[in-house]
Amino acid sequence: MNNKTIRWATIVLSLLAILVIAGVVALGTGSTHISVSDILKTLLSGEQTANHTILMDIRLPRIILAFAVGGALSLAGAILQGIFRNPLVEPYTLGISGGASLGVCMTIVLKLYAIVGVIAYPISGFIGAALTILIVYGISSRKEGLRIQGMLLIGVMISFISSSIVMLIMSVSRSEDIHGIVFWVMGSLEEPNEFLIKMTVAFSMAGLVAAYFFSMNLNALALGEEEAMHLGVNVDRTKKFFFLVASVLTGICVSVAGIIGFVGLVVPHFVRMFTGSDHRILFIGSFLAGASFLIFCDTIARTIIAPLELPVGVITGIIGGSVFIYALSRKKVMW
């Protein structure tokens, strides 16, 4: 084993340990405090006590969703920062969240949920996200390849257009509809549908595995597109592949959990300080750190003003932003 293997193993093991700690703390924290030994006892005995219900039916699904969404958003951020070679890109920059919000907004105003049930929100969110992906991709895709900087601008413009339309719809909506829209836009990890949670977990894990197939290509791409071509990288295929992976990950997260900002921007950036910019460690590092970060933020969001709950996006923004500014002032982030 060489130094790099040892260093990477240390990083992954530390992040796994942090993830486990975050998970256990989140399980124990809430209106009913449950100690670690009680958690173990309850889980191992399997008896249908009140604690068992709280842990298994209320807290655990939420923690699992936070794991999947936090990991996926952070991974999508790492991927997009890599293909755009720009540290300020995040999953929402491509307009995907805008498209998803517009979809959900339509569902609320047109009362589609009355026809198909609560699953109408994630479905319409995903349709909005998918349409945005197709539009951005369609406009930026040319015979000579994917125009990557143009793609960024188109994404930003689509964000503006869709948020304007959302505001337009809100300004002519009834107040209870407005509340529904605002609540969704702020993002929440409360998801009663077990199938959606499982699907999010499956997609985020699949995204992580898929990202590794082209991780070396992305490392070479960091040297510039022509340089990567000289090394034998199929630049166009690499960009398209990662664009699709990042879009699907973001689309799923936005549809299930609404808009949770900062995770995809701050976490990969923060992880890069410790791992360097080799995507082989950055991907897994960002995934694990993003998962822990969102579990941690969600725990605060649901306990800090209990019995009320704050939107988790508020917490990720405040904590993420401040920790990041502190970290930037302490250590140089290199690109």
Binding site: N2, R85, Y212, F213, S215, M216, N219, A220, A222, L223, G224, E226, E227, M229, H230, L231, G232, V233, N234, R272, G276, S277, D278, R280, M334, W335
Partner: protein
């Protein structure tokens, strides 16, 4: 025409938008050649490298390596045959060693994401050869221009190619580093048998180091041949549109081009 050409550019015309930058270019490079491409700014030197490395597709004509069109060879296969040292790599946040190791990329299988110990051994070998071992852990963005050029050459060698193309390898370097880089390239050519094609601005470096030169003018090859054939007073004045004095380097006997300032021209005219 060179019969055993490893690179054969056949009547290639290419450009970026509507107007062609290169017109009907014919250039054959034999195995073990050290060819310099020279010419004024905008004459199409860099474009020639781009069309020869599959960055640009020719509008007409063909580029062949080892008797196959480069467009019929996969990108990875091409990268095992041709390594490119371009003008300045983007300062990505990678250490010199990681950068050089990326030269093994063409040898990785499709879903491989861990390098083998053999890859690392090859990278280390060429770091030693290029005298970059001591820079191993330094970030690419923090080393000097000369060191970066050497690291780029080490990365190119790590690709274990048959040919290396270099785009102005001595740009922005002081004379110490110019000579160091060019001596290294010459050594690679003579000792390792690498075929070298390089774009050069400095006519005197081209004269000293290259076995053959191709002088581009307005997208066409004006003159091609040995430095003695290409670097003559008449040819240079016609292409560069400035008077020069061509002497012989007393040590190497190669042509040596001296500039003539406007003041000198005025003085010469007064004297007439």
């Amino acid at each position: 025409m060179v019969s055993n050409a490893v690179l054969d550019i056949k009547t290639v015309t290419v450009g970026y938008r509507k107007d062609p930058v290169l017109i009907d270019i014919d250039l054959a490079v034999a195995k073990g050649d050290l060819v310099g491409i020279i010419g004024p700014n905008g004459s199409g030197k860099t474009t020639l490298l781009k069309v020869a490395t599959r960055i640009l597709k020719p509008w007409a004509g063909e580029v062949m390596i080892n008797d196959r069109s480069i467009w019929d060879v996969s990108r990875k296969d091409l990268a095992r045959e041709i390594a490119v040292v371009s003008q300045g790599v983007e300062s990505a946040n990678v250490s010199v060693y990681e950068y050089i190791l990326l030269g093994r990329f063409p040898y990785y299988s499709d879903f491989q994401f861990v390098e083998s110990s053999k890859d690392e051994e090859i990278a280390r070998k060429y770091m030693e050869l290029t005298d970059t071992t001591h820079l191993k852990d330094a970030p690419m963005s923090e080393i000097s221009g000369g060191e970066r050029q050497l690291a780029q050459i080490a990365r190119a060698l790590t690709q274990e190619p048959g040919m290396v193309f270099l785009d102005e390898p001595t740009a922005h370097l002081d004379i110490t580093h110019q000579v160091k880089v060019m001596d290294l390239i010459k050594h690679l050519n003579s000792a390792l048998g690498l075929t070298v094609l390089m774009v050069l601005h400095d006519l005197n470096l081209a004269s000293e180091y290259c076995s053959r030169l191709a002088l581009l003018d307005n997208g066409r090859i004006h003159t091609a041949g040995t430095p003695h054939e290409v670097l003559t007073y008449e040819v240079i004045e016609e292409v560069y549109k400035t008077p020069v004095v061509v002497e012989k380097n007393p040590l190497s006997n190669k042509p040596f081009v001296l500039l003539v300032t406007a003041d000198e021209i005025a003085r010469a005219k007064e004297g007439e």
